[in-house]
């Protein structure tokens, strides 16, 4: 195999796939980066087995020639040395060559590196995807859905399936749901998926956060493919793959109560700053529990008490309070997470009782839902 490429072009691709490579892996070949030369471009692949990133450098794009003198072939190079070598090459022009004994020569200016590579056949085979299993959506929207749900995944390994975000697609509605069993975040958006449907596709929280970091804020769209064991997010130059969590995600929709006892309409910003202040004196090791009670038609009292430090009470005038009087305690962290994730000016909170879940939504929208379980006080 052989190709000639610009150092800067190669470097930016190398950096992308390095995000997936870990030096601590149980599969020896994964400490390497796979480099594949094809007629129409170069593909770099990195993986820690949980996520895999493929970066594609087309031979030509927008009338620019990126890669020249391509002789197809592939090789795996140890990721500890390869990126540093490319970074420090003396000139922008890089010649890359590998022989049948997996010996690699990298030339740039007067520098020549000889490296031992490994047979690319030893590298894991990433799933082959079919276009009829895919749908498309704007990257910005995908990133928003991730931000609004992924924080709620469980950090505990006791129920591994809850450490992921469950995604499903039905009737052209895409749903993301995450819960650690103390709170649940869910978001729905319409997509054009041509009737494609799937459910119980659970992406590990770690992977989905990595995806969010990897995707640039751009106007572009992302194509999403679901296979039995992996999910692929495909952008113009990058393929991001993640393995899925094995197991059945619990049916959460039936756990969301629908009878409402008290409704509070409030300004998100006011709620956030008041609860944030109250949480300052709440005990951290107990998730900063604060107490909320309604008083009349428009006043909330938010308080917390931590005997060794002190207590704080603050009254907050809200837009409206409907229904029964309410006294409830909750983790301020969960509520702040939820309010910040919702990211709208006005919210509506449906309470179903002091020991039952409450639901935070934007006032005029049903597509996003943040459900939180209160704290029981005795």
């Amino acid at each position: 195999m052989k190709f000639t490429i610009q150092q800067s072009t190669l470097m930016s691709s190398v950096q992308d796939v390095m995000k997936a490579i870990s030096s601590r892996t149980a599969t020896p070949i994964l400490t390497g980066m796979k480099i594949e030369a094809k007629e129409n471009g170069i593909v770099l692949t990195g993986s820690d087995s949980d996520i895999s990133i493929e970066s594609y450098i087309p031979a030509e794009s927008d009338d620019n020639v990126n890669v020249e003198n391509i002789e197809p072939g592939s090789i795996v190079l140890h990721a500890r040395y390869f990126p540093e070598i490319i970074r420090k090459l003396p000139e922008n022009n890089v010649e890359f060559e590998a022989d049948e004994n997996f010996r690699v020569t990298i030339r740039s200016g007067k520098a020549e590196f000889n490296l031992n590579g490994q047979n690319a056949e030893e590298y894991p085979q990433l799933p082959i995807v079919h276009t009829d299993n895919s749908f498309e959506m704007p990257i910005a929207l995908l990133k928003q859905m991730i931000k609004q749900t992924s924080f709620a995944v469980s950090a505990m390994e006791t129920r591994p399936i809850l450490t992921g975000v469950n995604i499903s697609l039905k009737d052209n509605i895409l749903n993301f749901t995450a819960t650690d069993s103390h709170r649940l975040a869910s978001k729905e958006i319409p997509v054009e998926a041509d009737g494609l449907a799937f459910s119980n596709v659970v992406i590990p929280g770690k992977s989905i956060n990595e995806l969010n970091k990897t995707l640039d804020d751009s106007e572009d769209t992302v194509e999403i493919y679901v296979t039995n064991n992996q999910i692929l997010f495909k952008t113009r130059h990058l393929n991001f793959l993640s393995r899925l969590l094995d197991g059945n995600y619990p049916e959460t929709s039936r756990l969301i109560p629908n009878q409402v006892k008290t409704v509070i309409y409030a300004k998100t910003k006011d709620l956030i700053s008041t609860i944030d202040r109250a949480s300052l004196l709440a005990r951290e090791e107990r998730n900063n529990v604060v107490k909320l009670s309604t008083s009349g038609q428009q006043t909330l009292e938010i308080s917390s008490n931590s005997p060794e430090i002190g207590n704080v009470t603050e009254e907050l005038t809200v837009t409206a309070i409907e229904g029964e009087e309410l006294k409830i305690s909750f983790s301020s962290k969960y509520v702040l997470d939820a309010l910040k994730a919702i990211d709208v000016e006005d919210v509506k909170i449906d309470f179903t009782g002091a020991m039952r879940p409450f639901i935070i939504r934007p006032t005029n929208e049903e597509k996003i839902l943040q459900l939180i379980l209160p704290v029981r006080t005795y």
């Binding site: 103390h182 700053s273 430090i309 020991m355 039952r356 006080t377």
Partner: protein
Amino acid sequence: MVRKKNHARVIFHIDMNCFYASVEIAANPKLKGKPLAIAGDPRERKGIIVTSSYEARAKGIKTTMPLWQARKLCPELIVLKPDFDKYRAASRKIFTMLSQVTPRIQPVSIDEGYMDVTEVAAEHDPIAIAVNLQKDIFKQLQLPSSIGIAPNKFLAKMASDMKKPLGITILRKRDIPQKLWPMPIGDMHGVGVKTAEKLDKIGVQTIGDLAHADIYQLKRLLGINGERLRNRANGIDNNPVDPDAVNEFKSIGSSQTLPEDTVDPREIQKWLSILAENVERRLKRKQAAGKTIQLMLRYHDRKTITRSKKLPDYIDQKEDMIQITNDLLQKHWDGEPIRLIGITVQDAEEKKSILKQLDLFSYEKEETKAKLDHTIQALNQKYGKDVIRKSDGIHKGDTDLRTSFQKDVLMDYQKSDD
């Protein structure tokens, strides 16, 4: 100071001045003389002042004031994050020093406590004791304190508040009309904002007003607490200094030597249920619940075993205790004749400080259980729970709420004692 008469007590209340700030200054003398505040999180603009040094207070800095406001009043303010480990260590040293004067100490929080020095005062002048104690603490730990000396806890507490820092104030019964009565009612220990508002409505504005207020009117307004407050305003407080008060909630148990040694399972069952009932009653009286259950068995040969089980949830019901101790019995009883059985609930906490994060997949079950508890609690609440004042500020210290944090601190010095 009057020499001790037959039944007159000599009580100290020792209160550390600006404790957290003082500990920080002692640890870093460069801070001395500078306005210093301890606040929630100094990086956050919205942090709240937890406590501050006298230099900061002189600039108008107050507890619970938002940081941005404090910085406006005092731009050179130094702000630190609370370091409870450091405060705990300092507190432990202080109480160890107190315990060298007398074992009769009742710690009430990390930075204040009562001492009953009646016996020591028979031999030494109590004022000299107080002066030396205050000096020693300041010399050894660089921590300022105020000491109130009085014939009871209430007056001692009021006295220690009168002169800060490094004050020693004696409050005799006969000083009450001049020193105590003119004070606004809100400054009285045991009177919170809500109570003060209520009292104001019946024209009670000073402690003196309260001392002379109509007792029936007070009772109607404040329940049993009304009478207690009025007594205190008259300088009457018979509460003893109780060194064990701090241990109160750690564990609650009951044991019984059986009429005769037995291997009869029915007999053992019977006693388990009697003991569980005792423990349940005592837990409920203290409004507490515990997380660990211990079974003690003493055999005919006096060999004693204790076996305990940690529980996922707090319990206070005898049914739960019977079931768990029975499991322990089945597992650990070797069949030898039993002479004594004991049940103890450990890791006990006041119910109001017990919190449980509910779970999406099990909240419905929890709710059913709670409804039951609630009914029982409603009954308990009839019995004058309101006597306990809620904390209304940091600087005043809080005598009634005890957290595990404080308990640990307060127990610590006892540990270091033995």
